[in-house]
Every structure is written in structure tokens, then in C-alpha cells.
């Protein structure tokens, strides 16, 4: 499907736009900005996706929704592995993450990976926040294009 290409290009260009416009010293701020952009997208997306669906049973049910339906809508595949310690930490593993597939598999671009994952992290956080789950989402890459998202639930 051709229209997936424009989303990928747009995502790439958003990243380089943000990095172009900020100084070398505040690159952390760029990550934060990308994350908050993702948050906003995740929030509005999940509102549309769950418009017609029944209430989630519990937290795990919500997570399954993120792994299956949400992932399927956004990345055209499901999460490959979901693990939890049943104490509020969930690890979602995607063996072939869409925004990393265009990069070479070696170690060469490992440093560049965080900026391509900030927006997706924000999207997960935004989606969950609108489903009533407050959390912190971080991502980790050990071998491209596989990627692990860790979701840590914040209980106030």
C-alpha cells in the first residue's frame, strides 16, 4: 500500500526537522518534544479506535488491546511478545519494528535509534493515558530492527 510510504517519510522528516531546529546541546529536549507529539497522536487515535468497543476488563486486557489492535492499526502487525511481572511492568517486544526497518541491521546506527523511538513511545503513553492508565514508556534496541518497549505503570 503506497500510502504507508508517506507516513514513514513524514515521520523521518519530523525527526530531522526537530533536530535541525535545535542546538546540539539540547538534544534531550528534542526527544521530549517528539515524545509529546506522539502522546498527542496516541491520545486522539485511541479515542477513535475504541469508540465502538466495550469497556476493558482489566489492565492486562488493555495491554492486549495495545499489542493486538492498536499495533495492528498503526504498524500493520501485532506485537510479537508480551511479558509482565504482574506488578505493573509490561515488556512489549516487536521483532521487526516498522520505523527501524529502513536502517541497516548492524551496530552502525544504534545511536540514532532513540530518536526514531521517541514518538512511538509517546504514542503508547498517550493511548494508555486516555484509557485511564498512567505510565512511563521507554524503549530499548539490542539488535535492529527488533525493539522492546517497557511500560511501567504509575500508581498514584
Amino acid at each position: 500500500m503506497a500510502d504507508e510510504v508517506i507516513l514513514e517519510y513524514l515521520h523521518m522528516e519530523i525527526i530531522s526537522q526537530f533536530y535541525r531546529s535545535c542546538e546540539k546541546s539540547d538534544q534531550d529536549q528534542c526527544i521530549a518534544k517528539l515524545e509529546s507529539l506522539g502522546f498527542r497522536i496516541g491520545q486522539s487515535l485511541v479515542e477513535r479506535f475504541t469508540k465502538e468497543s466495550p469497556r476493558f476488563k482489566d489492565e492486562l486486557d488493555t495491554m492486549k488491546f495495545i499489542c493486538k489492535d492498536f499495533w495492528n492499526y498503526v504498524y500493520k502487525k501485532q506485537i510479537d511478545n508480551l511479558r509482565t511481572n504482574h506488578q505493573g511492568v509490561y515488556v512489549l517486544q516487536d521483532n521487526k519494528f516498522r520505523f527501524l526497518t529502513q536502517m541497516s541491521n548492524g551496530k552502525q546506527f544504534m545511536e540514532a535509534a532513540p530518536k526514531f523511538l521517541a514518538l512511538p513511545c509517546g504514542m503508547i503513553r498517550g493511548a494508555l493515558s486516555n484509557l485511564g492508565v498512567n505510565c512511563v514508556v521507554t524503549a530499548e534496541v539490542s539488535a535492529m530492527p527488533a525493539c522492546k518497549f517497557q511500560i511501567q505503570i504509575q500508581r498514584a
Partner: protein, 180 residues
């Protein structure tokens, strides 16, 4: 079972929504960063330019179109193939100038503005200005310098969204120094 309701969602449509929402969030962020409509227009065009440079490769690879004989044919390819392929819409080509070097693309349902309402005080903002950049860059890569700008925008209360394209000149391939 529990999530049956959402499975019936049209994936293609979802993809479009994801795109519109991503773009909307981007514009909102740029407005916050630059606080100036003109500057945002400029940045959007620049981003579009960078996308267009790559997109033309993808387009030529997928569409299998050959050379266009004249600007009218180019206009047709842009509207019937390119817009259709990437945004799923087919703008109407019209308002040709007498010399045949200028035309308008009339867009009725601009997917970029699906969920958008322009707040007051942004009369200078061309929300979809990224399209201008994309068109300009893509055409430049096939040796055409074209001037692209927004004339009307439904977001600003016009009846239709209109992008005007003006052919400027044919670009010649520059041979690198020292080669014949």
C-alpha cells in the same frame, strides 16, 4: 469476544487518520515553536521539499509512467496518479492559463485537514503547505522548475482548496566539472 467491535475498522482509513493526526500534531507543535504563521509556512514547505525529493523515486518505481510530453500531461499524472496513490484523492485540474504553463489543482476533501479547525488569528497560515514543498521538489527532480502556492483553502472559509502550479523553466542536467 470483547474486542469484536474494533476489528471491522477499515485499515486503509485508519492509516489515513493516523497520517492526518500526525500531520496535525506536527503543525501544532511548529506553531508553538515559531509563533509566526509565515515562518511555519516556510518550515512546512521545507519539510515537504525533503519528502518530495524522496517521494518521486518511490512514485516512479511504483507507477511505471514514462516521460510526459507536455505540462498538461504532467498535470494529469499529478492528479490522477500521484495524489490518488498517496492521499487517495483525485484533485480536479482546471483554470489553465492561455499559454498552458499554469494550472490549478482543486481539492475537495483534503485528507490533511480532516480533523482540523483553524483557530482565529491564523489567517496567514497555509495549513497544508507541506504539499507545495512536495510538489515543487518532486517536479524539480524530473527537471521542471515549478512555482507552487496555495490560492484558496477551505480551512479559511473558501469553498474549495486550490493549489496553483506555474511552470517556470526546464532544468538542464548540470554536468560535473571536468566531465564531458
Amino acid at each position: 469476544m470483547s474486542r469484536q467491535g474494533t476489528r471491522g475498522v477499515d485499515l486503509r482509513k485508519v492509516n489515513g487518520e493516523l497520517f492526518s493526526l500526525t500531520y496535525g500534531a506536527l503543525v501544532a507543535q511548529l506553531l508553538k515553536d515559531y509563533e509566526d504563521d509565515e515562518e511555519v509556512n516556510k518550515q512546512l514547505e521545507k519539510m515537504g521539499y525533503n519528502i518530495g525529493v524522496r517521494l518521486i523515486e518511490d512514485f516512479l518505481a511504483r507507477s511505471n509512467v514514462g516521460r510526459c510530453n507536455d505540462f498538461r500531461e504532467t498535470a494529469d499524472v499529478i492528479s490522477k496518479l500521484a495524489f490518488k496513490m498517496y492521499l487517495g484523492i483525485q484533485p480536479v485540474v482546471s483554470n489553465w492559463s492561455a499559454a498552458g504553463d499554469e494550472f490549478s489543482l482543486l481539492i475537495e476533501n483534503n485528507p490533511l485537514t480532516d480533523f482540523v479547525e483553524l483557530p482565529p488569528g491564523h489567517s496567514q497560515l497555509n495549513f497544508s503547505n507541506i504539499l507545495c514543498g512536495v510538489l515543487k521538489a518532486a517536479l524539480e527532480m524530473v527537471q521542471m522548475e515549478v512555482d507552487v502556492r496555495f490560492v484558496q483553502d477551505t480551512l479559511k472559509g473558501d469553498n474549495i482548496t486550490e493549489i496553483r502550479l506555474k511552470f517556470v523553466k526546464r532544468l538542464e542536467d548540470a554536468v560535473p566539472v571536468g566531465e564531458d
